[in-house]
C-alpha cells in the first residue's frame, strides 16, 4: 500500500475503500496536523481542524484536480482554510513567517532517501527565500505556506492590497527564476 501514489490513494479514499483510507490518514496526518497547529497555535483546535480536513478529503476526494497541483498541496489548502476559519472565530493569528520555515523536518514514516530528498528541496527553498527582501519573503510565506489571501497579507503587513499583491507576485517570479532555472541547470 505504501508504494501507491498519492493520486491513486486519494481515488481509493474517494470510493470508500477502508485500506486506502487508513493508508491516506497514515501518510498525511503529520503534515495536516502540523500545519493546523502552527496556524491555530492550539493543540486541541489543531486536532479538530486536522480531523475535519481529512474527513473533507475523504468526502471530496473525487474533486481533486491534478492540473492545479499535487495531492499534498490540495490537502494542505483544505487544512489552511479550516485552520484560518478556526482562528478567525477564536482570536487573531499570531504567526511569525520566519518561525514557520525554521521548524525542523519531522521524519514520520519516510524512508532515508525521501527524507534526504525533501531536506534538499527545503534547503533550496530556504536559500532562495533568503535572497528575497524581507517584505517579499514574509508575503510569499504568509500566502504560500499559511494560505492567507492577498487581502489578509495586506492587513497583516499594514500595506495597501496592491502592494501585497505585488510583493507576492514578485516573490513568486523570483522563486521560479531561482528554483526552476537552477533545477533545469542541474
Amino acid at each position: 500500500m505504501w508504494s501507491v501514489s498519492d493520486e491513486a490513494l486519494l481515488a481509493g479514499l474517494a470510493t470508500g475503500d477502508r485500506a486506502a483510507a487508513a493508508a491516506f490518514v497514515a501518510r498525511f496526518q503529520r503534515r495536516v496536523f502540523g500545519l493546523a497547529r502552527v496556524i491555530t497555535g492550539d493543540e486541541r483546535a489543531a486536532e479538530d481542524v486536522a480531523q475535519e480536513a481529512l474527513l473533507r478529503a475523504w468526502r471530496h476526494g473525487a474533486a481533486y484536480d491534478p492540473r492545479r497541483g499535487s495531492v499534498v498541496t490540495w490537502l494542505l489548502t483544505i487544512t489552511r482554510n479550516l485552520a484560518i476559519d478556526s482562528i478567525r472565530v477564536r482570536r487573531p493569528a499570531t504567526i511569525d513567517p520566519g518561525d514557520v520555515l525554521a521548524l525542523p523536518l519531522e521524519t514520520g514514516e519516510r524512508g532515508p532517501s525521501e527524507i534526504a530528498e525533501l531536506a534538499h528541496e527545503l534547503e533550496r527553498l530556504r536559500g532562495a527565500l533568503g535572497v528575497l527582501p524581507p517584505e517579499q519573503q514574509r508575503a510569499v510565506v504568509l500566502a504560500g505556506v499559511l494560505g492567507l489571501s492577498a487581502r489578509e497579507v495586506a492587513e497583516r503587513e499594514g500595506v495597501p492590497l496592491g502592494t501585497a499583491k505585488t510583493r507576492i507576485r514578485t516573490a513568486m517570479l523570483r522563486l521560479r527564476a531561482l528554483l526552476v532555472t537552477e533545477e533545469r541547470a542541474e
Partner: protein, 222 residues
C-alpha cells in the same frame, strides 16, 4: 482559438498557483492555459514552486489515537450516507421498476446494503469527464466493491445549475437516469450506489435541463 492573452495569463499565473484567484479569474486563466502550451509550462513551473512552499509547512505528530478517531468518524459518516443512499435507492428503484415496463433497463440501481452483480473483489475504474471542445471538466470514479458506487465530480467550465446524470451501456439502447448533480460556484460532486457493468463499455453523461448532453465519461470494460 485560444481564450484570453498570454499577457493576461502570465500576470495571474503566480496567484493561480498559490490558490489566490477567485472562481471567475481562475476559470479565465485556466481556459487560456488549456489551449496554450507555453503558458501551461509556466503554470507547471509556478505549481512546482507553490508545491515546495506547501511542503515547507511544518509537520508534527498528532496526539495518540488520532488516526483511529479519524477512521472511526469516516465509518460513522459512511453509515449515515448508506442510510441516505438506501432511502434514495428504494425511491429510485420504484421509479425504475415502473420505467422498466416501458423500456429496456440499462443500469440496475443496487440497494447500498446488498452486494451488486459485480465480482466480489473491489475494483476501481476512472475516466475523465469530457465536455465541449474536448475540455476535461471533471472525473468519474466507479467502484465495484460492496456496495458498488460511482462518484462524479466536475469543477471546470460548466455553468452553475442542475444536471441529470445518465448511464448507457454498449448493450443498451436507452440511457437511464441515475441522479442529479448540482454545479455551484463552478463545481459539484455526486456520489451514488450505482453498479456499472464491468464487462461492457459504459458511458456516464451529464445532461442539461433540456436533456442535451453537456459532457460524458467513457468507462472501459475492466
Amino acid at each position: 482559438m485560444i481564450a484570453g492573452t498570454c499577457e493576461m495569463a502570465r500576470e495571474r499565473i503566480p496567484e493561480l498557483a498559490l490558490g489566490l484567484l477567485d472562481g471567475a479569474e481562475r476559470a479565465e486563466v485556466l481556459l487560456h492555459v488549456h489551449g496554450c502550451a507555453r503558458c501551461q509550462t509556466v503554470l507547471d513551473d509556478f505549481n512546482g514552486v507553490a508545491d515546495l512552499l506547501a511542503l515547507s509547512a511544518p509537520e508534527a505528530e498528532p496526539p495518540p489515537g488520532f488516526d483511529r478517531r479519524v477512521l472511526s468518524a469516516m465509518r460513522s459518516a459512511r453509515r449515515v450516507d448508506r442510510q441516505r443512499f438506501r432511502r434514495r435507492a428504494l425511491a429510485i428503484g420504484a421509479v425504475a421498476a415502473a420505467a422498466a415496463i416501458l423500456s429496456v433497463a440499462v443500469v440496475r440501481i443496487v440497494d447500498a446494503g446488498r452486494a451488486g452483480d459485480e465480482a466480489s473483489s473491489p475494483m476501481l475504474r476512472t475516466a475523465p469527464m469530457i465536455g465541449g471542445g474536448g475540455l476535461t471538466v471533471g472525473r468519474v470514479v466507479a467502484s465495484s466493491s460492496t456496495p458498488a458506487s460511482v462518484v462524479v465530480t466536475v469543477d471546470y467550465a460548466l455553468p452553475d445549475g442542475e444536471y441529470g446524470l445518465r448511464v448507457q451501456t454498449a448493450t443498451g439502447s436507452v440511457a437511464r437516469g441515475v441522479g442529479t448533480i448540482t454545479v455551484s460556484g463552478g463545481g459539484g460532486t455526486w456520489k451514488g450506489a450505482v453498479a456499472i457493468p464491468s464487462t461492457v463499455p459504459t458511458v456516464l453523461m451529464m445532461v442539461d435541463a433540456s436533456g442535451n448532453p453537456v459532457c460524458e465519461a467513457r468507462l472501459a470494460p475492466a
